[in-house]
């Protein structure tokens, strides 16, 4: 176990607000939420390389415009590295074996490196990276309070058909506020167990029973810490007169300006283009531009 393995909260970028004061931060939170939802939807529904790459490029562009430190954004990828490695291994082992017409670059026993597998690895990796960056970026450029207000405003019309939008927005806020706290608690439990020579299990172990034995002493305290902190929160909310489902107004009112509307139009047009433009495939682009 190295010292780096304890630094969970540093690598969990979801729920962390980075106040750089950039124009992205100053945008109307409702506009940011709508564009983020559009990007989520587009990323979920595109499966080819070019639109996935374009979506990833836009997410990087938003991070640069928001003056988010590149190292901090990339640190959010660290927990996902085992998943990405696994994706590569399994694609090499299983993809392409049953697909006729593939160009095989290397074959030995069950290992089959071919063009279909390599493309699937590239697109799969780009999608996972894009989803992680997008989720982190949402909270890096918006405070949880802004996010709550944005959710309430954007989904407000659904309240007329009985959807408890305010309560769901509050639930999301509580979840995002608790993520850094629980990550710190988890670090504390890990250090406490390591100091008692306990085996702690964030390492990938191909024997699930062994992994379970080392992880359960972390997982059960994590749940109990969360539930006990929840008790305190219920008491605090009720002491302040909060009642779930009650009608309430709020002090903060948002007014979208020309720049907000421009970002909305450009953002949604980009998402629509990702979904509906017949993008060429990578081999077609290669044949047209690189090897004519």
């Amino acid at each position: 176990m190295t010292a780096m393995d304890f630094e969970l909260s540093r690598n969990i970028t979801v729920g962390q607000y980075i106040p750089t004061g950039s124009w992205v931060h100053r945008l109307d939170p409702r506009i940011k939420l709508i564009v983020f939802i559009g990007l989520f939807a587009a990323l979920s529904l595109v499966f080819t390389a070019v639109p996935t790459g374009l979506a990833l490029a836009l997410i990087f562009a938003i991070a640069i415009a928001g003056r988010i430190p590149a190292g901090y954004v990339l640190s959010g990828l660290k927990p996902a590295l085992p998943v990405l490695v696994l994706l590569v291994i399994l694609q090499i082992l299983f993809r392409g074996q049953s697909t006729p017409g593939t160009v095989v670059y290397f074959q030995w026993w069950i290992v089959n490196i071919n063009d279909v597998a390599l493309m699937a690895i590239a697109v799969g990796t780009a999608r996972i990276v894009a989803f992680i960056f997008l989720t982190s970026l949402l909270t890096m450029v918006m405070t949880t309070t802004e996010l709550t207000h944005a959710i309430e405003s954007v989904f407000g019309p659904l309240q007329r058909v009985g959807v408890p939008v305010r309560e769901l927005a509050l639930t999301a806020t509580i979840a995002l506020r608790f993520v850094p706290t629980l990550a710190e608690e988890l670090e504390r439990v890990m250090k406490a167990q390591a100091s008692r020579l306990g085996e702690i299990g964030l390492r990938s172990d191909w024997r699930p029973d062994r992994a379970a034995r080392t992880r359960l002493p972390l997982i059960v305290p994590l749940f109990l810490t969360a539930l006990r902190r929840g008790e305190d929160l219920v008491l605090a909310m009720e002491a302040r007169g909060y009642v779930g489902g009650a009608r309430r107004n709020r002090y903060v009112q948002y007014h979208a300006g020309p720049r907000d509307w421009l970002v909305l139009v450009v953002g949604l047009a980009f998402c629509a283009a990702l979904l509906f433009v017949p993008w060429p495939t990578v081999p077609a682009l290669w044949a047209q531009w690189v090897a004519p």
């Binding site: 509580i174 990550a183 990938s204 191909w206 992994a211 779930g244 489902g245």
Partner: protein, 190 residues
């Protein structure tokens, strides 16, 4: 003391907070990788990501279970959508997203049916049933869409058993400790 509230219903203060903190637990399990166990088969990973939803369903009812499961649904979608060949855009959404939403409801139904018999048995059964519902719905959709062959069922059976046992163990450990239920002998034998 358990999460007490003066207001009742699926969106009482208690249930809002319960769903919020369990969503946070699910996010931490996902972001740290603690919720996934690598296994060398076609399913790629065994998971306990369904346990927050099961705990939520047992403590707060099916609506809390459903909300908490949104994290697992979204997380599994982002992780696994790139790993398989899908026949259309709806197939991965149904297989990886919608199918997971049943976990909390199934766990709550099993817990409610067995609670009068024995609380610990009800908790263990709810944990195992939630895990089995997860696998059954995901595999069912994947096989019906032709993403996985029927022959994959015997391959993933050991993993299904592992997830069900782990679901039962964690659910009992968490809920019993939280509700101060007596499990086993208790205390020291010295």
């Amino acid at each position: 003391m358990s999460l007490q509230s003066s207001n009742e219903g699926p969106f009482s203060t208690r249930n809002i907070v319960l769903a919020g903190v369990l969503l946070a637990v699910a996010l931490v399990l996902s972001l740290t990788g603690l919720g996934y166990f690598p296994v060398p088969n076609v399913a790629q990973q065994a998971t306990i990501m369904h346990v927050p939803a099961i705990v939520g369903a047992v403590l707060g009812g099916p609506v809390v279970g459903l909300i908490v499961n949104l994290v697992f649904s979204f997380d599994s979608y982002t992780r696994f959508v790139g790993g398989f060949q899908w026949p259309n855009a709806i197939a991965p959404i149904l297989t990886l997203f919608v199918s997971r939403l049943a976990i909390g409801v199934v766990a709550w139904l099993v817990y409610r049916a067995l609670k009068g018999l024995n609380e610990i048995v009800a908790l263990a059964s709810a944990g195992a049933a939630g895990a089995l519902a997860n696998t059954a719905f995901v595999l069912g959709f994947a096989i019906s869409f032709g993403v996985l062959p029927v022959e994959v069922i015997p391959v993933v059976l050991p993993q299904v058993a592992f997830e069900a046992i782990l679901g039962a163990v964690v659910t009992v450990a968490v809920v019993a400790a939280y509700k101060r239920l007596a499990v086993g002998r208790g205390g020291s034998s010295v």
